[in-house]
Every structure is written in structure tokens, then in C-alpha cells.
């Protein structure tokens, strides 16, 4: 069981879906750096395609998305995306091989199914990708039978459903009403369409959510046979995500309650036979993610924990981030500017950071700690990090094994905080904090 140490969780730390994190991006790198990295790419390449549209906008959501209410807006965006696909593909060397394509959003099923097929066709053609692994994020509220047929025909084998909670009152509170029956029907449709790895996104820490609510949602998810589960804590930050102002903050669980919910969810899912993946994902033992975890090949990327080992990720669409060994770079976020630039055949990459050797070294430590709970620490990093980690050693959350730092099972909820001690961009905030306690 996990023990709650509020002082060790007092400073907010990044989720480290990349290192350096997006908070370190600036405009010193842009399209020229992106193009140069693209032209040097080799080996396996994964694509991420962002579809920033939803039928309805949920109040909690921090994603870059808008309502798909105007046909011209959607088709204008898709035209730009097709242009971007052409521009990026022609710069990618022939030796590079696209092995995975992930569609995220927003809700990729917020656009017409025929437009989605055209997109897959263009990607296949331009990137010469005849049989990549395809995955998609889906909104159960817009899963018509046409979409199930398309998922089947296109050969999508991985899907992720935004479920969040099964409790009707909580669904109301976060502006995402989707009756349990709808989720059950969607699950059945996707299984019928050949999806063999199905993820449910769930949330704890929702306003008014009780432990019983969480139990019920997890039990429902297990009963429906989800292959993967991502259990995220709801972050109420209306100053950053204005649409969250619609959510009543009075009934939000406090930090101790949130910690208890995460601990409870973890115990329940492990009990149900799931393999814990990193600090917030779970997978059935046969699933590719669980196999990657058990064989030490788990990776961290913008979509969370992944078994994807490709060294290059190309982000297509507004706000998408591309990752190369030596560069992280993000596309224009604003869909209007994104469209305008692509109408002039200009790539929109405009913010990012070069990953220096030191970034890559520290990034490897952070990724190893989050994915495997163990990392080899070079002497100079030990010298720097050990003093900052003292309270974690004292609390029995991690220990030193020769040159290695090892996170104990009870240290899992502290993994990000432990990893943050190797993040030089967080040095000041963490030092201030450690001197204060």
C-alpha cells in the first residue's frame, strides 16, 4: 500500500511525456531545424496525426480542439493537413520507414468517415506505408456504424476511448454525458471491427467523485474487458484551461483524497490481473504494452507510456510535436494560422528545443526511472541529486543499488517527483522547496 507524504508531492512536477518538456520550448527553433532533422531521419518512423475537432467540447479537456460544427472549417483544415503530409513526406529520406500511425485529437471520429479514409489513403501513398500499425482515439458519442465499418476496412487494431467515468452525475458535472450502454455498444462494435487492443481513459479526482464511484467505473471497465487503462488525475486549472470554469470546483477532492483514489485504483486493477505500466497506465498481461513493460522495452512519449521503439516521431496537424533524437519541435497551435501557412506551402513548425547531449543523458535517466523504476546514475549526477533525494530515501520510497537508483513499489506515486530531481530546468523551484522544509 502507498503512504501519503504531502511534503514530497507539494511541488508540481511535469508529466515528462518528453524531456526537455514543452515548457522549455522557445522560438529559437522552427521550420528550418525541423526540415534539417527530417532530411536526416532514418530507420523506423512513427506518425502522429492531430484532428482538433469534437462534436461537443468536454469541460475538463485541455486538448487543442474545437467544435466540428462548420463543414468549411473542417474541410479547410483537412486540405491543409493533406498539404502538410505532401510536404513532410517528400522530405523524408527513402530509407526511413513509417511503421505506426496514430490519430488523436480532439476526436478523430468527429470528422466525416470518408475524409478519414482519404487521410489514411494520402498517408499510405505519400509515406509509402502499406501496412503500418494504426491506432485511433475515439469519442463513444459519435461512434456510428459507418465508423465501425471504416475501422474494420482500414485495419485499425488499436483504439482508445475517452470514458473518464461511468457515473451519470459526474458525467453531467464535466459536460460529457455518455450512458454506460453507449460505451458498451461502442466496445462491442470495436471488437467486431477487429480492434485487439482497446484502451479506456478514466479519471479520478473529479468534482463530487466518491471512492464508490471510482470503484464502479473501474469494475465496469474491467468487466468490459479493456486491454489497457489509463487512470489520470483530473487537474483543475481554469486559469490555464478556461473551459474548466464551467466545472463546479467546490466539490473537488483534496490532495489526500486524490492520493487515496490513485492508490485504490492501482490496487484494484492489480488485483483484477492488470500489469501496472509506469505510474498511471495498466495493461492485460498479453497486451503489447504489458509485454514491453515486462521485457524492459517500455518508452515514454507524448501519448503516455508506449511500446513504440521508433527513434523518430513526426507530428502532423496543428499543435503536433515532432521528436527526433536531437530535436523537439511543435507545429503552429492556432488552426487558422496553421491553415494559412500551409496554403502557402510553408511548414508550420515554430517552437521547440534542441536536445543537447546533456539533455539526452538526463532524459534517459528520467525515462528509465518512469518506465522501469531503475536507472544508472553517473557520479556527477549522483553528487547533484542525492541531497535533493534525501527525503525520498528517508521515507523508504527509493534506494541506491551500487550505481543505480531504484524506485520501490511504494515509491511509484512519487516517481515523477523523484525523476524531477534530475531535471536541471526545475532546479530552482525544487531547491527553494527543499530549503523551505
Amino acid at each position: 500500500m502507498w503512504t501519503y507524504h504531502p511534503d514530497l508531492l507539494a511541488v508540481p512536477v511535469p508529466r515528462y511525456t518528453s524531456f526537455p518538456t514543452a515548457a522549455e520550448f522557445d522560438d529559437s527553433v522552427g521550420a528550418p531545424a525541423f526540415t534539417a532533422a527530417l532530411e536526416q531521419a532514418s530507420g523506423d518512423v512513427s506518425l502522429y496525426v492531430h484532428i482538433p475537432f469534437c462534436e461537443k467540447i468536454c469541460w475538463y479537456c485541455g486538448c487543442n480542439t474545437g467544435v466540428a460544427n462548420r463543414t468549411s472549417r473542417v474541410s479547410g483544415y483537412l486540405d491543409a493537413l493533406h498539404r502538410e503530409i505532401g510536404l513532410v513526406a517528400e522530405r523524408l529520406p527513402r530509407g526511413a520507414r513509417v511503421t505506426r500511425i496514430a490519430f488523436g485529437g480532439g476526436s478523430p471520429n468527429g470528422i466525416p468517415a470518408v475524409d478519414f479514409v482519404r487521410l489514411v489513403d494520402a498517408l499510405s501513398l505519400q509515406f509509402s506505408a502499406s501496412s503500418p500499425v494504426l491506432s485511433i482515439e475515439l469519442d463513444p458519442r459519435t461512434m456510428g456504424s459507418d465508423w465501425a465499418a471504416v475501422i474494420d476496412a482500414v485495419g485499425i487494431t488499436r483504439a482508445s476511448l475517452g470514458v473518464q467515468t461511468f457515473a451519470p452525475s459526474l458525467q453531467q458535472a464535466i459536460g460529457r454525458v455518455q450512458p454506460a450502454r453507449m460505451i458498451e455498444e461502442t466496445t462491442a462494435m470495436l471488437r467486431g471491427a477487429g480492434v485487439d487492443s482497446l484502451n479506456f481513459d478514466l479519471m479520478y479526482g473529479l468534482p463530487g467523485q466518491t471512492m464508490a464511484d471510482l470503484d464502479d467505473s473501474l469494475a465496469h471497465t474491467v468487466a468490459l474487458g479493456a486491454d489497457r487503462i489509463a487512470l489520470f488525475g483530473y487537474a483543475h486549472v481554469p486559469h490555464l484551461i478556461p473551459r474548466q470554469r464551467k466545472i463546479d470546483a467546490h466539490a473537488l477532492p483534496d490532495a489526500a483524497e486524490r492520493f487515496a483514489m490513485a492508490a485504490h485504483g492501482h490496487a484494484l486493477l492489480v488485483d483484477a490481473g492488470y500489469v501496472p505500466i509506469g505510474f498511471d497506465h495498466f495493461a492485460r498481461p498479453g497486451d503489447a504494452l504489458a509485454r514491453a513493460m515486462l521485457s524492459g522495452r517500455l518508452r515514454r512519449n507524448f501519448q503516455g507510456f508506449t511500446e513504440d521503439a521508433a527513434p523518430v516521431l513526426l507530428g502532423l496537424g496543428a499543435s503536433s510535436i515532432s521528436g527526433f533524437p536531437e530535436l523537439l519541435v511543435q507545429n503552429e497551435k492556432n488552426t487558422g494560422r496553421y491553415r494559412m501557412m500551409l496554403s502557402q506551402d510553408r511548414l508550420t513548425a515554430h517552437r521547440g528545443i534542441r536536445r543537447q547531449a546533456e539533455d539526452r543523458r538526463r532524459g534517459a535517466v528520467i525515462e528509465a526511472l518512469l518506465c522501469r523504476g531503475r536507472a544508472r546514475i553517473a557520479p556527477d549526477l549522483q553528487y547533484e541529486a542525492w541531497p535533493l533525494l534525501l527525503p525520498f530515501f528517508d521515507a523508504g520510497l527509493c534506494y541506491r543499488d551500487g550505481e543505480d537508483l531504484v524506485i520501490l513499489p511504494g515509491g511509484l506515486p512519487y516517481a515523477r517527483s523523484i525523476a524531477a530531481r534530475f531535471d536541471p530546468y526545475r532546479k530552482d523551484s525544487l531547491r527553494r522547496f527543499s530549503s523551505a522544509v
Partner: protein, 233 residues
């Protein structure tokens, strides 16, 4: 498309689901074009993205790579619906390989029309999925197959696609079938990414093995369909 009643691909084209009144409405947003071998299909509107319904002839879809090479990315036949965006700046062109007749629409107009006609919309989705399927087979053909597999696959596709309008081959019937290729040996070599010598050698080998016969430069008779399927890998 002056008269859809006389259209030879009417019974298997995407518009076959429409009634007379709907066809008239579709007529109003489309145009019929006849293009000569070597001529490219372009839409003369502001919107550079178009879709086309092939009535007669064969077209190639191609793109120019940055180093100036032409890369053929697909071939379209009668009753095919070319739904992928081309023209504009994505660099795709459709060029006639034979004299060809096509009905052309702007994609936006066509999509808007389809949204109001669910039967057509459904057919549009089916056609687009079929195109994806063809794209993938093409990529596989170019990427993985040997020269003999490529040529055999190509001849099988030709056999399937060049059936007379309105009819379907009976593939159970094992009798010889004669097709007239819309391509020269050089064009076949270009399409398959092979040299003309290799293509000619493969033709001769298939002929010597009694899989095909070659009555003239452009005609191919398929003598042994199962053997050709086996050659395609």
C-alpha cells in the same frame, strides 16, 4: 455527362444509386471532359481539388519528386472514382494513357451533394475504401515484390479492371481471355519501377511457360489464370 442514360459505366459507377432527378442535379455541378493520351486532367475552377468518374480510357496518377523524377502512384480505369485529392500543391496529377472520357467535379461540390444523398454518400465511402485498398496493394507491389511477381500482379489487375463495360469476367471459366494493354513496354516498366529489358524478358518467359500468349505488341491472352496468380506471389 450530357446524357447519363447513355453512360456506359452507369451501372457500376458511383452515381448508379441515384434516380433521374438526382442525376440531373449532379449533372449541374459536374462536367464531362475528353482528354487525349498524354494530356493532364485539371480543374479550371478556383478550387484545385477535384474528383472524377472515369467513363472510358485509362489514366495514371503521378507525382514529381524533388529530383524531377516522375513517380507513378496509381492507375485508374473505367468506372473508377478518383477521389484522392490531386492537383493543387500536393503534386498529384492525373494524365491520360489512352484517350479518356471523365466526369469531373470539385471535391467540395461533390461532398456537399453526397451529404444530401445518403445512398451516394455510402457509395462514396465504399469507393474511397476501395481506393485505399488499391493504394496499399500498389505500395506492396512496388516495395516488396520481385520483377516476375510485379508483372504478374500487374497483368492480373489489368485483367480484372479492363473487363468490357457492363460485364464481368466469369473467373471460374478457365478459358483464355484477351486484353488490350493501354501501355507500351516502356510505360509498364515505368509504372512498375523496372527497366524495359526486364519487362520484355518477363513477358517472354511467361509466354514460353505457356502462361500467356502475345498475339501483338499491345495484346495479351491469359492462357493459364491459376498459374498467373501463383506467379504474382
Amino acid at each position: 455527362m450530357a446524357n447519363c442514360d447513355l453512360c456506359v459505366v452507369r451501372n457500376r459507377a458511383i452515381c448508379s444509386s441515384l434516380d433521374a432527378k438526382e442525376l440531373e442535379a449532379l449533372n449541374a455541378i459536374g462536367r464531362t471532359r475528353t482528354i487525349q493520351p498524354g494530356e493532364s486532367l485539371i480543374w479550371e475552377g478556383e478550387d484545385s481539388v477535384l474528383v472524377a468518374n472515369v467513363i472510358d480510357g485509362v489514366l495514371k496518377l503521378s507525382t514529381n519528386t524533388e529530383d524531377g523524377r516522375e513517380q507513378i502512384v496509381g492507375v485508374v480505369y473505367p468506372s473508377d472514382f478518383i477521389g484522392r485529392p490531386f492537383g493543387g500543391t500536393t503534386g498529384h496529377g492525373a494524365t491520360a494513357l489512352t484517350e479518356a472520357t471523365v466526369c469531373v467535379f470539385s471535391r467540395r461540390d461533390f461532398d456537399a451533394f453526397a451529404r444530401e444523398h445518403p445512398a451516394l454518400e455510402h457509395k462514396l465511402l465504399e469507393r474511397t475504401l476501395a481506393e485505399l485498398d488499391r493504394t496499399r496493394r500498389w505500395m506492396l507491389l512496388l516495395g516488396r515484390k520481385s520483377a516476375s511477381e510485379k508483372l504478374a500482379s500487374f497483368l492480373l489487375e489489368m485483367e480484372e479492371r479492363l473487363q468490357p463495360p457492363g460485364c464481368a469476367w466469369n473467373f471460374e471459366d478457365a478459358g483464355p481471355r484477351r486484353i488490350t494493354l493501354p501501355f507500351s513496354r516502356q510505360q509498364i516498366a515505368d509504372v512498375l519501377g523496372l527497366t524495359i529489358e526486364t519487362v520484355s524478358r518477363q513477358f517472354t518467359r511467361l509466354k514460353n511457360d505457356r502462361v500467356i500468349d502475345l498475339p501483338s505488341r499491345r495484346d495479351v491472352t491469359i492462357l493459364d489464370h491459376p498459374a498467373l496468380v501463383a506467379e504474382a506471389g
